[in-house]
């Protein structure tokens, strides 16, 4: 299935999956810098209560989109709402939004605690949360050290703590796993899932697609500023490249299997002694029965579920090849 097909199927899925509440909605959101279009007519809807992965290649427009959603930059065209409020009035919703944009950024000569005090004071958030958050992200024993002495992983943790200061309904994180070791990534994954279980919507951009696949139940995929997909993550993986891998006892019988699959509307390609059929897992039993009826013995029949990374590469490659 071509990338554009999946993209076209997105809005229907969105309507079905959005429910009554939408955390983030954009309508033709566009940002141009001179002749360059960083974000191009982006229309997405992210429902509340999900962990939504926001993926795209470097320079795809992820951070620009996030900056527009947070009122840091003004769109060239289009509109958007965050937690039901237009982004032209960020003060109406940012009190319920926590964010870490474009990596952590703090004052290097202030301690972690003092850095959080600056933001808590500015946002009017209770300072009692600072200690709890430092404990939660594992920085309690280094909370009085200067931020400038922190490792990248510790800086990321402080960025997440700062994002959690306002007890957010929506958490927007830009590459939160950058610089974290495997144990740290595991902790962040667990933290984000825990937050989603509490009803917090998490919108997380990442280039670690495997990570996004593990923690997300919603996916927004963009390339060169344009939407590729917006919807439940399992749907894109199921629809995009679901394949049955088939091997027959007699190699010459692959043609018979290919014909059976084609008659059922599933195209296939031969790959050595294997046949790759574009079909969902549910077609496997039918194919097996039909093959047996034709006197063909299948020695291998398995469902191949592509990873998000493979899906993403397939979609972006298709898009680039499309004139």
């Amino acid at each position: 299935m071509a990338a554009t097909d999946v993209s076209a199927a997105g809005p229907a899925d969105i309507q079905a999956g959005a429910g009554s509440a939408t955390a983030i909605a954009t309508h033709g959101l566009t940002k141009r810098y001179g002749s360059r279009t960083a974000v191009d007519q982006l229309t997405i809807q992210v429902p509340t209560g999900v962990v939504a992965g926001f993926v795209g290649l470097n320079g795809a427009g992820k951070t620009t989109t996030i900056r527009m959603l947070l009122g840091l930059i003004t769109p060239s065209a289009g509109t958007a709402e965050v937690l039901g409020q237009p982004i032209s009035r960020p003060a109406a919703y940012l009190g319920r939004v926590g964010a870490m944009i474009d990596g952590p950024a703090f004052y290097p000569t202030l301690s972690a605690r003092a850095n959080l005090e600056v933001l808590a004071t500015l946002g009017g958030h209770p300072k009692t949360r600072i200690g709890q958050l430092l404990e939660q992200v594992g920085l309690a024993d280094r909370s009085e050290d200067h931020y400038g002495s922190y490792s990248l992983g510790m800086k990321q943790r402080l960025g997440i703590a700062a994002a959690l200061l306002p007890e957010p309904a929506l958490l927007v994180l830009d590459e939160p796993a950058n610089g974290l070791d495997p144990a740290g990534i595991l902790e962040i994954r667990s933290l984000l899932r825990g937050l989603a279980d509490q009803g917090i919507t998490v919108f997380v951009s990442s280039h670690l697609l495997g990570e996004v696949e593990q923690i997300s139940d919603w996916l927004v995929m963009i390339d060169q500023g344009r939407l590729l997909y917006d919807g439940p993550i399992d749907q894109i993986i199921d629809r995009q490249q679901a394949e049955l891998i088939v091997a027959t006892e007699q190699p010459g019988e692959l043609g018979t299997v290919a014909r059976l699959a084609a008659e059922a509307g599933h195209p296939s390609t031969a790959n050595g002694h294997l046949l790759r059929i574009q079909a969902p897992a549910s077609y496997a039993a039918t194919l097996n029965r039909q093959a047996m009826a034709q006197g063909v013995t299948l020695v291998e029949l398995r469902h191949d579920q592509p990873s998000l990374e493979e899906t993403f590469l397939s979609m972006t490659t298709t898009t680039e090849a499309t004139p």
Binding site: L70, L72, I73, P90, I101, Y107, L122, G123
Partner: protein, 264 residues
């Protein structure tokens, strides 16, 4: 705005800021007092800079202390320019501005709170500098046979208060210039560099070539304000024109800060 003010003060009370900003202002004031009192002569001289050109008679007058402090106005002002420019421009260069704007998206309130905090920090520094200057002057003046009795007369206290007030206004004016440079250039080194280049050699060169420059150039006018007026430019003219410049600067700074994308 109050939250922005309080938030900014958490940064301003860093030891580096107190020593580097307030400490330098106090240090300049003390240095000016010592240099002025120990190098003063009976006849006027053409020396510029801190304490330059004041006679023993002028120093012993009721406004002697105020006159000493006024000669340090440009140097203290340059420190204030650097403090304001660094504080604001580093929010861009460190990327911390985006965090602040997420927590306080009303940009005018954020900027107003920051400037109010910086202004209060500068005010405290100038007042401490004034107290330190008086204390040092009391120690040094007797060693130079300079009478201090007129300083502590009723007219002397009034002159000192007015002198400190004028010095403070001039210093805040320099801070405002630093703010505009920071918002335009968004990099501390560039903002401080351009500010220093303008304040020290820049205006002096222009004034040397343009006789009427002292009546129009902001740095010269701030110096005039600190001195309470000069024979060439009245206090009223300096105050009026500087107020006009300040309005333009505030409008420009607010427009830049509220309308420009924060893409760092």
């Amino acid at each position: 705005m109050i939250r922005s003010f309080r938030s900014e003060w958490i940064k301003l009370r860093r030891p580096g800021m107190i020593l580097g900003g307030a400490g330098t202002i106090v240090g300049f004031a003390i240095l000016t007092v010592v240099l002025t009192l120990t190098t003063a002569s009976a006849a006027p001289t053409d020396e510029g800079g801190p304490g330059g050109g004041l006679t023993l008679e002028q120093l012993a007058a009721t406004d002697g202390l105020a006159a000493i402090l006024a000669t340090a106005a440009t140097f203290i002002g340059v420190v204030a320019l650097s403090v304001f420019a660094t504080s604001i421009a580093s929010e861009y260069s460190q990327g911390t501005l985006r965090n602040l704007l997420v927590r306080q998206p009303r940009r005018v309130r954020l900027l107003a709170g920051k400037l109010l905090a910086l202004a209060s920090f500068t005010t405290i520094a100038v007042l401490v500098a004034g107290v330190a200057a008086v204390a040092v002057a009391l120690l040094v003046a007797p060693t130079q046979d300079i009478s201090t009795s007129a300083w502590f007369s009723s007219a002397g206290w009034t002159a000192l208060g007015a002198g400190l007030g004028n010095l403070l206004l001039a210093t805040l004016g320099w801070g405002l210039l630093g703010t505009v440079l920071a918002l335009v250039l968004r990099a501390p080194a560039a903002a401080v560099g351009v500010g220093l280049a303008y304040a020290l050699p820049g205006e002096l060169l222009v004034t040397a070539a343009w006789a009427d420059g002292a009546r129009w150039l902001p740095g010269q006018l701030l110096d005039t304000l600190a001195q309470g007026g000069t024979s060439a430019v009245t206090y009223g003219w300096a105050g009026l024109l500087l107020a006009l410049y300040a309005v333009v600067a505030v409008v420009a700074a607010t427009t830049l800060f509220t309308r420009r994308d924060v893409a760092t």
